[in-house]
Amino acid sequence: MRAPARVVWAAGAVAAVLPLAACGSGAGVPGGSVLSASWGDPQNPLEPANTNEVQGGKVLDMIFRGLKRYNPRTGKAENMLAEKIETTDARTYTITVKPGWRFSNGEPVTARSFVDAWNYGASLKNKQRNAYFFGYIEGYDKVHPARGPQTADTLSGLKVTGERTFTVRLSQPFSSFPDTLGYAAFAPLPRMFFTDHKAWLDKPVGNGPYRIESYTKGAQMYLKKWDAYPGPDKARNDGVTLLVYTDSNTAYTDVLAGNLDLVDDIPATQLKNVRKDLDGRYINTPAGLLQTLAFPFWDPAWNTEGARKVRIGLSMAIDRETITRTLFRGTRTPATDWTSPVLGTAGGYQAGLCGRACTYRPAEAKRLVQEGGGLPGGQVRITYNADSGSHKEWVDAVCNSINNALGDDHACVGNPVGTFADFRNRIAQHRMTGPFRAGWQMDYPLIQNFLQPLYYTDASSNDGKWSNATFDRLVDQANAARDQATAIRLFQQAERVVRDEMAAIPLWYQNGSAGYSDRLHDVALNPFSVPVYDEITVG
């Protein structure tokens, strides 16, 4: 693949020093049916309850299988290790684990593997970033009190009742609980995780279709197919080498040069060329990711009836169609509700729910903003963090669109903040004075996950501190509903409250995108925009 010929250098002086780049396989392309894929350095230790970003999530998805698994295509939660999950009151669940499952070190997966893992994840002393996922389970307030020392090490709501059965008692009814169990934080853990934690962190051991063969932190991880994997979704390749890239553009270039097989995040700057560059080996799949503009509802100026009109006016001033087409080249689609198309209509997604308010209507936008008393402070400053993602581009585009619609060059300006932590601090300390970037990547494909954490009073991701009694009541009712259909209907009602109040301006649904080499077939992305590695075939 590389011309081994003489290297003629522009600056002749170095030509002599330049050893001929060895041809043949470098580190990037291992032989056999092992594929190489782009990866990012995980930001947290790779423990299941400590991983809250997609790069660590990729590995967990390969080496762990939980009670449920989200179907890579439909996103529907399906039993994986769970034989059955039974309840009569949506509050106490009896879970039976299928027989025959093992960790890759040979240890059988039992009810205890789950209970120990969940207790570890919930316990305050273990400082797990995703501990709040266990917040529904009874006794969470003892093992993870909001303040003061913890008074228990284990969740009182978890009881092992047999080799393969355990019961979970929640602190309140939650009918969708079984469907949340596909999330990585609920994965089972082997004894070794607790007895030799350091060794586990250096080379995590799980029960998924791959096992970690070698791991050089910060550089690469080689995951080998686990031949004795007992599950139905055995890997169809011999293994995956994950290579850490600090910039997806480099990974993309490496795919072009034939040094890498799979890049799962096509840089926006290359989208115009990608089909030509890769000869169609490019996929663009909807993912459970919605981008919105949130508002500081603690600021009285944004929390009035007039401000509601201003918010709807601003939403109408944004030309989502042109922005998604021009800047994102179809890797994002204009949002028309507050969930995501990956839920499917049955799951609660309602195309067009937002209606007129989410279509570009400059004249009406101008009128609404005027009726609402004008922009608070005479100008909106859209705050975003400058350190990750290319937020600047779309914020500038949104502002230009608003300025054009309102006929004022200074109606909207971007307000970059240097670091993500600073951005989060401004939210936490209520220092935002105007709309700010908000994005939501779903934890599990449920309408509940798109609404409750974001708009319920004082919920963990309710960054704008929006609060509405009707919405809260509907969510409570939905969670307590005995059957899924009722729950979804109630959540949809709650979503209409969000719409009427324009609690946040929905911008666009984000897709996952990937490009791959001609060695690969059956490449797909799941609704979390993570490649379905086990289905990829090589050759």
Binding site: T269, Q270, A386, A397, S401, N404, N415, V417, G418
Partner: protein, 326 residues
């Protein structure tokens, strides 16, 4: 670090054991032979100083005249951009993003659908101000501090050098995020101030090095022997001979400062939106160079012309200040 204030001109070669090579001896011999003949410094009663001599030369140097004219033009554009670009630099139409040139829009459109010509002309103000003011600040601060350190030597030299070491150590990104994120002013001055703070140590070390060399020269020793005062020696004899590397570094730094402003904007701490500058244009267009090179070409070209003008100007000034060229 006490350096001898008057190294003996009789034995210049063997300062550090083992370095008195043959060549050095040759040189020393050659120089010793010419001491006092050619370079005893200008006679005290001479009517025109070196500096006014230089000005006299410069006015007749075509390179100087042309570069000065270009700079004047840039200043005019920076002050009154609407003279040649009446459009509104803030008006952008995303539907035209990355489009090529069309009538009335000779440079085409950038990634946000803004007119590249209008923005390039209007960007001159911020960029030229940042480039020129930061360079001037760095050159003055750096050469004064570095020059004094090199001339005085000893404790003050050590102190200043170690301070520059600490300054060098602070990463640009960190300094920018810490110092500029607290600023709310939307003018260019915080950025200029930051670049000066960041850039002076380098010029300072260059100036120090130049002064350390220049003060060993025989004509300086001669002037000192003739009883010239410290400031007079520094200004009349050392400065003209030490200024060349400072000019070289400063003129190139001018270009890098204009580009660095964009880095700061990229970090979210540079010029506050909706500012227009070449740096911001260049950094926004860079990732799209494969598809829309024109959006990069024009602002980069404007930056190149500006740097060229100042490099030529610097060259001409340096030549004019070089007594050996007379």
């Amino acid at each position: 670090m006490p350096e001898p204030s008057l190294p003996q001109p009789q034995e210049p070669e063997g300062a550090i054991a083992g370095t008195g090579t043959g060549a050095a001896m040759d040189l020393a011999a050659a120089e010793a032979a010419t001491v006092g003949a050619a370079e005893a410094g200008p006679p005290a009663g001479r009517p025109r100083s070196l500096w006014s001599d230089a000005w006299h030369d410069l006015r007749r140097n075509p390179v100087f005249v042309v570069s000065a004219l270009v700079i004047c033009f840039l200043v005019v554009i920076a002050l009154w951009p609407s003279l040649i670009a009446p459009g509104n630099p803030l008006h952008c139409d995303l539907a035209r993003a990355q489009d090529g040139p069309s009538p009335g829009h000779p440079f085409g459109y950038d990634g946000q659908g803004c007119d590249v010509y209008t923005r390039t002309v209007h960007g001159a103000r911020a960029s030229v101000t940042v480039g020129v003011c930061a360079t001037a600040g760095v050159a003055v601060l750096g050469s004064v501090l570095g020059g004094l350190a090199g001339y005085v030597g000893g404790f003050w030299d050590a102190l200043l050098s170690r301070i520059t070491d600490v300054f060098f150590a602070v990463p640009v990104v960190l300094g920018g995020l810490v110092l500029l994120s607290v600023v709310t002013s939307s003018t260019v001055w915080p950025v200029v101030g930051f670049l000066v703070l960041l850039g002076w140590p380098q010029i300072s070390r260059i100036a120090r090095g130049a002064v350390v060399t220049a003060k060993q020269h025989d004509y300086v020793q001669a002037a000192r022997a003739l009883g010239a005062s410290g400031p007079r020696i520094l200004l009349r004899h050392i400065a003209p001979n030490a200024v060349a590397p400072v000019i070289v570094v400063a003129t190139i730094a001018l270009g890098t400062f204009i580009a660095l402003e964009a880095t700061l904007s990229y970090l979210g701490v540079g010029l506050k939106p909706p500012s227009v500058s070449w740096g911001i244009q260049i950094s926004a267009a860079s990732p799209y160079v494969r598809n829309a090179p024109h959006a990069l070409l024009w602002p980069a070209g404007a930056l190149a012309v500006t740097v060229l003008a100042f490099i030529m100007l610097g060259d001409a000034v340096r030549d004019a200040l070089d007594p050996k060229l007379r």
